[in-house]
Every structure is written in C-alpha cells, then in structure tokens.
Amino acid sequence: MNSRIPDTHAEAWALLPWLANGRLDTADREWVEAHAQSCAECRTELAAQKRVATQMQRDAAEAPASAANDEQRSFNKLWSRIEASEAAAPVTNANPGAGRRAPPMVRWLAAAVVVQAIGLGVLGFGAMRSPEFVTVTKEEARPNRSRAPAVRIVFSPAASIETINTLLEHQGLQIVDGPGTQGNFTAILSADAVASGASAESVAGVMSKDPNVSFAQPIAR
C-alpha cells in the first residue's frame, strides 16, 4: 500500500496520533504500522505520543472528581429553565411527535414523583433511625462483599428499569439485595469506582440528588 503514498513518512507521521489512540481505519492502520516497523523515528514518536495520550487520560480521570457533585445541580438549573420556557410558551403544535413538549403533564408527573419521593424518603429515614435496622443484607452471607462500600437506595416509582440500570452503571454500583420492605435496595461500589476515588458517601450524595432516586444513604461498614 505504500506505493499510493507519495511521501510515506510525512503521511505516516501525521497519522501517528490516531495510531496511538487506536482510531485509524484498517487500511490506514496497516500501512502506517508497516512504515513504522521500518522507521525508527516514527516508532519513537509513536511511543512518545502514547505517553502523552496516557498522561492526558490520567489527568482527565483525576481532574473532574469535584465536578461530579455539580452535575445534578447544573441539570436542575437546566430543567427549571426548560420548564419555565415551556410554561411561558404553551404548545400549539398539533403534532406532538415533532419534538414539542407537554408541560402540564410533565409538571404533574414531576409533582407526583416529588410527593412519592418525600413519602418514601420519610419512610427511609424512619427506618434508618431504628437501631435494629443496620443492613438489609446479612454480611456473613456475603463475606467477599462485606467490606465493599455500600449504599442503600430507594428509587423513584417513576424510574424505569433501564434508567435505574444506567444510573447504577454510571456510579459503578451493583445491586446486591432488595427490594426490602420499603422498596429499598442495597448496592455496592465496584472496585473500579473505589479505585477512581468514589466512596459510599460521595455516591450516595450524587444519587440522592438524582430525580430517579427518592432516597440514598451510605451504609456504615
């Protein structure tokens, strides 16, 4: 394939960043790799760019920890803005499937969720105050999980299974027990999430602000 490239080295050199990040298409990857095999300069550059990429990803993975706590607050602002806008400009479009909204229904549902959330939250906090209520899961039944940071969660009745699964994945959580008598689940934090700095407290803090979660508390271990 080299014959189609007038200046193979210059072309390969320009494409090395995407060989480094694994996003070259097959045809380009094959000839750039073939060139690099016979070009020490390109091999050195490729190794250098991989180091830069690795460092940038590491930097990025470590940097946004504090921003995660701002996410829900920011979303709430945006959602308030959307609701205010839609309340100020009622839908007149006869085609509801063309991207238009139905604000009265949205607000009604939101209000219903809030009422349910408050009710479930009160139930949950009541249960937390009870000295007998320590954990839903008996720790001796799951010795390999007993030390993992865990969170007790009650989801909003309006939350779909898909939404719940997405939410759990985003936080690196895995359900290990539930639902309990008050609809409460116990979820543990994955090793990856812990390694990246997440704790039961931080995750519960984020979860408790999510509109799909009625109640979230870290479980003391």
Binding site: L15, H170, Q171, D192, V194
Partner: protein
C-alpha cells in the same frame, strides 16, 4: 479495598467515562426517547454522559469556571429542543461536542478572555526534581497544553482524552481533515519543547 465483583460487569464510572464514551447506538436510543416522548430520564442520562467530558474540554479551552455550566446547559438546551431534528448524518457525540465547542468560542469572544496560562500558571513552580513523577508530568502537560492555541489544544484533547478519530475531530471543530492533522502536527512540535520528560525525547526527532 478487597472486593470481588461480578465478572464481565460493565461499569461506567464518571471518572472513567472520559476515555470510554458510550456507544453511538445507545446514545441515539436516548435521543430518540427525548425526541418522541420528551423523556426526562433519557435526557438526564444523556446529560450525565456528557457533563464530565464537556467540563473537561471547556476547562481546557480556558472557559471560565462560572461560564462552563452555562455553555453545557446552552448545549443541552439545543439537544432538548432539536432532538427531533437530528438526522444522524454525523455521530451524536460530534454533534453535541461541536455545539459545545461553538458555544464556548462565543463565550470566550464575549468575555475577551486571555488563556488562563497567562495569569494562573507559574512555570517556576514546576519542580523537575519532584519524587512524584506522575504529578510532575501532569504539571508539564498542563504547561504544554496551555501554550497551545485553543484549536490545537482541542484537537489534542479530542484525540487523546476523548479518543475521537481524525474525521470525528474534523466534524466537531468544523474544519477539513487535513487541518486537524496540521493542528495536531504543530501541537506535537510545541509539546516536544515543553515535555521532554514525558515525551521521552530531546526535541530533535522531527
């Protein structure tokens, strides 16, 4: 902390999301729910999927911290109102990040900002002798990135931090593919002058 986790479990941790963005298909399914049924949960999930990525990019663009939220929310305002108009000619991620990029450029123009490096980064504060090599590399990297023009910085971030292809970067930055290659070429040359430790080179290779 010792923990046995279920095998093959797909975990998307916010901190790890940067380098492993969700698939285009799953994101399009969310957009479809937003467009067809104004699904708040889908909107929230999509928002969460991009919040960290965009925060990072906007920070790298030297957008002021207080403006970052506004740019992200302006971007997702467009996503909410235009979800039904997205025709899928490009990847959803390039559409969303492209909107954010243009909004951020507008914000920078409005604020007439200088790069943060001019007044916040002290080159003398770098300790080459630091025993924490990663920390030192991070400092050098920040210095190097801040010396780059914003277009080059974004091309580098989109390629290395977010893992986009050359074509995707071109779509996001709304420029030809060859322009992306040129920007990255120049960015690499500049970084070599600043990052000899990290890049493992003395600057005389190219």
């Amino acid at each position: 902390m010792p923990l046995k986790i279920v095998e093959n479990q797909s975990i998307e941790n916010p901190a790890l999301r940067l380098a492993t963005p969700p698939s285009d298909a799953s994101e399009r399914a969310l957009l479809d729910r937003i467009a067809k049924s104004q699904d708040q949960a889908a909107f929230r999930t999509l928002y969460g999927s991009y919040y960290q990525r965009l925060s990072r990019l906007l920070t790298r663009m030297s957008v002021r911290r207080e403006d970052i939220e506004e740019v992200i929310n302006d971007t997702f305002w467009v996503v909410w109102t235009k979800a039904g108009e997205f025709r899928g000619a490009s990847q959803l991620s390039t559409w969303i990040i492209g909107i954010a990029y243009r909004r951020a450029l507008n914000a920078l123009r409005r604020a007439k900002l200088r790069p943060v490096a001019d007044h916040e980064f002290d080159e003398d504060s770098i300790s080459v002798e630091s025993s924490e090599e990663d920390e030192t590399n991070q400092q050098w990297l920040s210095l190097g990135l801040e010396r780059l023009p914003v277009e080059q910085r974004m091309a580098l971030e989109l390629t290395y931090t977010l893992g986009h292809s050359c074509e995707e970067v071109a779509a996001i930055l709304d420029c030809p593919v060859n322009t992306v290659k040129t920007r990255l070429f120049r960015a690499r040359e500049t970084l070599k002058q600043v990052l000899p430790r990290l890049a493992g080179m003395s600057g005389d290779h190219a």
